[in-house]
């Protein structure tokens, strides 16, 4: 078993002008991931772009791994343009992943935008009744909705422009939900853009609700060696690639 392996691209589904799902099949023995972990993908064989790109694991089985990719810059563009048959090398699974809920806790999932990639495996893990609050800018920016509906009936969609579901963001939707219903010992699992994470942390803190939040930071090594990917926590700087990407909501400095 190895965390550094060659793979072949076996599928690349363009979901929209900005998102694709890349499927790869490892060509070597490799370690299986668990929810919330990520991989570093080499995006080109040349020296530019040089660094690997971090991507959360979306789905996996014996045959392969899948990643949901949002077009951001040069690296994600190269990943979007990959064709079946091409070779790629991966480093991972990396990081800590989401911890199991402790006895009696009710998991609530929160995803903003492409953060759904990180949270998705938890829907499978906690199905069939897990609550998921999934927000995006607009209806067109929500992906995998049909698949998610097949996994849970407890999906709460929100969009900033109100084009689908609740008008507002996922945290506002969750707040309204928590006000309106009583969830026994809720524990939140979340991944989303910085703004969403910040408002979520504030809300959790005010209500004393525990949570596990996946963070992003620029990475070089992915294995804890370069100290490049730190975030500030109440215990000082912690590496997203090693102590994270999932952090206890109470630990994150605000």
């Amino acid at each position: 078993m190895s965390r550094f392996f060659q793979a072949e691209v076996t599928g690349n589904v363009l979901l929209s002008r900005t998102h694709n799902i890349l499927k790869i099949t490892p060509l070597q023995p490799h370690t299986m991931p668990y929810p919330g972990q990520f991989y570093l993908l080499r995006v080109s064989g040349t020296l530019d772009p040089l660094l690997r790109r971090p991507l959360s694991i979306l789905r996996w089985d014996e045959d392969g791994l899948e990643f949901l990719i949002r077009l951001k810059g040069r690296g994600t563009l190269l990943l979007r343009n990959m064709k079946p048959g091409e070779r790629i090398d991966l480093l991972g699974p990396l990081g800590n992943g989401y911890p199991e809920p402790v006895d009696g806790e009710t998991p609530i999932l929160v995803a903003g935008g492409v953060g759904i990639a990180s949270v998705y495996p938890l829907i499978e893990r906690f199905r069939p009744e897990v609550r998921l609050f999934y927000g995006a800018v607009s209806a067109g920016d929500l992906y995998l909705v049909d698949e998610i509906r097949g996994l849970t009936r407890n999906l709460h969609v929100s969009t900033d422009d109100g084009s689908m579901g609740f008008r507002g963001n996922a945290v506002e939707r969750l707040t309204a939900y928590l006000d309106g219903s009583s969830v026994p010992s809720p524990v939140v699992y979340a991944c989303g853009p910085e703004g969403m994470t910040k408002s979520l942390l504030g809300m959790l803190r005010r209500r004393g609700i525990p949570g596990h939040v996946s963070l992003e930071e620029r990475m070089a090594c992915g294995v804890g060696a370069c100290l490049g990917c730190v975030v500030e926590t109440v215990r000082g700087y912690r590496r997203v690639c090693k102590e994270g990407p999932v952090f206890d909501a109470r630990e994150i400095a605000v």
Binding site: F4, D48, L50, E217, C221, A225, L227, V230
Partner: protein, 307 residues
């Protein structure tokens, strides 16, 4: 095929070392690389007291390179010796402790403590760090300060002492001669080249620290040139680094005069870079009928008289 080389009193199985700060304390890469196969492991830079380092973002990709401004975060010499060194002692590999200070006293204090520890085979002092007394100036850009700090460290250690030079100077050969005169057993170069990048949408620097150190293939031509200049100027061994990604790159540095090489940014791109490079050097030796790697040191053929 003989790949062994000597750096001061240190005998290395092969010329491939890790570059400080890119291989953590060794354990981070132990899953990917059999550490016993390496020429030497150079640790992340250590200071007398632990350091928090800079706020994030600390790294940014650049064309064929990257900038980093880690800010020398480290757990301090004491914790290194207690928590990290025992792990490294399992392997048959020399350990070189990279260290720094922001005053001469701190340099000396760290060197003394590291020299007393069992299992440390050599010291590499990083003089590309800001000098508290001199404000913004960096130790390694002033010949007099360099002489002073290297001499002071030399007095307190019998370990092989490597001085890691900053490339951000007008005359690297002069800095190397100063290090040699002050008692260094070897010099190591290049450290990162100071650079910077700006996010044009936010108008903010891409690094919280504003400036950072450029590393990776982008700087290889600068590193090779400086190694060659230093090789011609000093008698002590030169350890070459800067953008080494392959066995070919390592050989290029050795032809320019490096007795050994340090592999940095390449570890991030390929976690097995160090051992891949050793294999690449072997392949080159086989293809060119080279029995002993030291014979290629400084083997560049050139003739222009005015150089």
């Amino acid at each position: 095929m003989n790949l062994s080389v000597k750096i001061g009193d240190l005998a290395l199985k092969n010329p491939v070392m890790t570059a400080s700060g890119t291989f953590g304390y060794g354990e981070e890469y132990a899953e990917f690389v059999d550490l016993s196969l390496l020429g030497a492991i150079v640790t992340k830079g250590l200071s007398l007291k632990p350091r928090e380092g800079n706020p994030p973002p600390r790294i940014v990709e650049t064309p064929a390179g990257m900038l980093n401004a880690i800010g020398l975060q480290n757990i301090g010499v004491e914790r290194f010796i207690e928590e990290k060194l025992p792990f490294l002692e399992q392997f048959d590999v020399p350990v070189i402790a990279n260290f720094f200070g922001d005053s001469i006293d701190e340099f000396v204090g760290a060197a003394e403590r590291l020299s007393r520890a069992d299992g440390i085979d050599g010291l590499e002092m990083n003089i590309s760090c800001p000098n508290k007394q001199a404000g913004w100036l960096v130790f390694g850009t002033d010949p007099e300060v360099t002489f002073e700090v290297v001499s002071a460290v030399r007095r307190v250690t019998d370990l092989t002492l490597i001085v890691k030079l900053s490339p951000n100077v007008t005359d690297i050969a002069q800095m190397a001669r100063v290090a040699e005169d002050a008692g260094a057993d070897a010099v190591s170069l290049i450290n990162t080249v100071t650079g910077m990048a700006i996010d044009i949408n936010t108008r903010r620097p891409k690094l919280a620290n504003v400036t950072g150190g450029l590393s990776g293939p982008a700087i290889k031509p600068i590193g090779v040139r400086m190694v060659w200049e230093v090789f011609k100027a000093v008698g002590i061994p030169v350890i070459g680094s800067g953008g080494i990604m392959s066995g070919e790159d390592a050989v290029e540095y050795m032809l320019a005069g490096a007795a050994a090489v340090a592999v940095g940014t390449a570890n991030f791109v390929t976690p097995t870079a160090t051992t891949d490079i050793i294999t690449g050097i072997r392949d080159y030796m086989a293809a060119h009928g080279i029995g002993d790697i030291s014979t290629i040191k400084g083997g560049l053929l050139w003739e222009r008289e005015d150089l």
